[in-house]
């Protein structure tokens, strides 16, 4: 990583959108080509800034969905009434420009040297930085055990489902669908709580390293649940998303 990564302020740069891929009805992944990108760590995010022609600006943070070494990509969920997410998931096209700065973050990051076993908990679009972690783990050939417990409203709302299911023999993925389930669903239902964690999470005596990401209420319930099961608080890393605009 470059030693000049941070000198003074982190500077804004204008990236070209190289691809926009629809993941679900309300979620897209935006691949970017920033001119001066110094690479990133799994779990980091970047800030996006939109400018309207009257000079009005809006900034939001989005987790980086790609692994270190892959082209930079963010995954954005359209939020009800969200002026930035509506634009990014609706109007944005390949060839458009997007002003951004990053990468940002030094706490919610993982490298194989940090160890495990990894216990990843995702609430909705909280899966984005965890997917970066899983991809990084796969690309580095790490054999650290990893398990993802992913809470989504419905099966069509699950982001990256094909990819997550494909990796199933190397990283266990456990879903819980909270709003509705397809016929014959044999998986979990209902929100993540202490009881579900007792079944689905690595036991505390395995000394797992946990990463929890999602809406604030999800993160707080899940973190309290893991700590209640004996995870030391310093081995439970949390990242809370807001209800408006990703973070």
């Amino acid at each position: 990583m470059e030693t000049t990564a941070v000198r003074g302020r982190l500077t804004w740069q204008v990236a070209t959108v190289t691809a926009v891929t629809r993941e679900t009805d309300s979620v897209v992944t935006i691949e970017l080509d920033p001119p001066a990108w110094l690479g990133h760590r799994a779990g980091q995010h970047l800030d996006v800034r939109l400018t309207a022609d009257d000079g009005y600006t809006a900034e939001r943070s989005y987790s980086i969905a790609s692994a270190p070494g892959e082209p930079v990509a963010i995954t954005v969920e359209r939020l009800e009434g969200g002026e930035v997410s509506s634009y990014l998931t609706g109007d944005l096209r390949a060839g458009d420009e997007l002003e951004l700065r990053g990468p940002i973050g030094g706490y919610f990051v993982w490298e194989p040297g940090d160890g495990g076993p990894l216990m990843l908990l995702a609430g909705g679009s909280g899966v984005v930085p965890l997917r970066s972690i899983l991809r990084h783990r796969r690309r580095t050939g790490s054999d650290i055990p990893a398990r993802l417990l992913y809470s989504a409203r419905t099966l069509p709302d699950v982001i990256y489902r094909g990819e997550l299911d494909q990796d199933h023999d190397r990283a266990q993925v456990i879903y819980t669908l909270t709003r509705s389930q397809p016929p014959g669903w044999a998986g979990h239902t209902g929100r993540v709580d202490r009881a579900l964690l007792a079944q689905a999470a690595w036991a505390a005596d395995a000394n797992p390293l946990a990463f929890i990401c999602g809406p604030t209420s999800f993160v707080e319930t899940a973190a309290a649940g893991l700590v209640g099961l004996g995870y030391p608080p310093e081995r439970v890393k949390t990242e809370r998303f807001g209800g408006t605009g990703g973070r």
Partner: protein, 156 residues
């Protein structure tokens, strides 16, 4: 409207301190709670950004952006230790080790020996002074927070 956490202000903290700070270890001046900045409670939808202790709710830091400068109030903190969290000061330069003058990400506050040292003397900022451009952090001043327009400072 839910509060967020210190991860949400990673960019703002780089603007203020000149380096990644979400892994830095904060200590609350009111109750002594110690945790990474990333785990503090953050309210962003306000006339400024307010960072509170997760245990006692006291205000630890307040940031007010005005005209391209950032007014900074750290008076709720007892200390801010950049050796905390992942143990890597320069989170964007993972190969570096903290040490005298290490790298370009010199922390804005701390003894002149260089980055990686705990930030002491934050109570000296208890007068809610911000940082004066070009003068480094000095003894506390009373009165309103001063806007700042530069990021890197040295402890005098």
């Amino acid at each position: 409207m839910d509060a967020l956490d210190g991860n949400a202000i990673g960019g703002l903290l780089i603007d203020v301190f000149g380096t990644e700070m979400t892994a830095a270890r904060s200590t609350c001046a009111t109750c002594g709670d110690t945790r990474p900045v990333a785990e503090l409670v953050v309210y962003r939808r306000a006339p400024g950004t307010v960072v509170r202790c997760r245990t006692c709710g006291s205000v630890l830091m307040v940031f007010v952006r005005r005209d391209g400068a950032i007014g900074t109030d750290l008076s709720g903190l007892a200390s801010l230790d950049t050796l905390g969290g992942t143990g890597s000061l320069c989170a964007l330069s993972p190969g570096q080790q903290p040490g005298p003058g290490a790298g370009d990400a010199r922390l804005a506050v701390g003894p002149p020996e260089g980055c990686g040292r705990p930030v002491r003397g934050l109570p000296r900022l208890a007068g809610r002074a911000g940082w004066q451009p070009g003068s480094g952090l000095g003894p506390s001043r009373s009165g309103a927070c001063q806007p700042v327009d530069q990021v890197q400072r040295r402890w005098p």
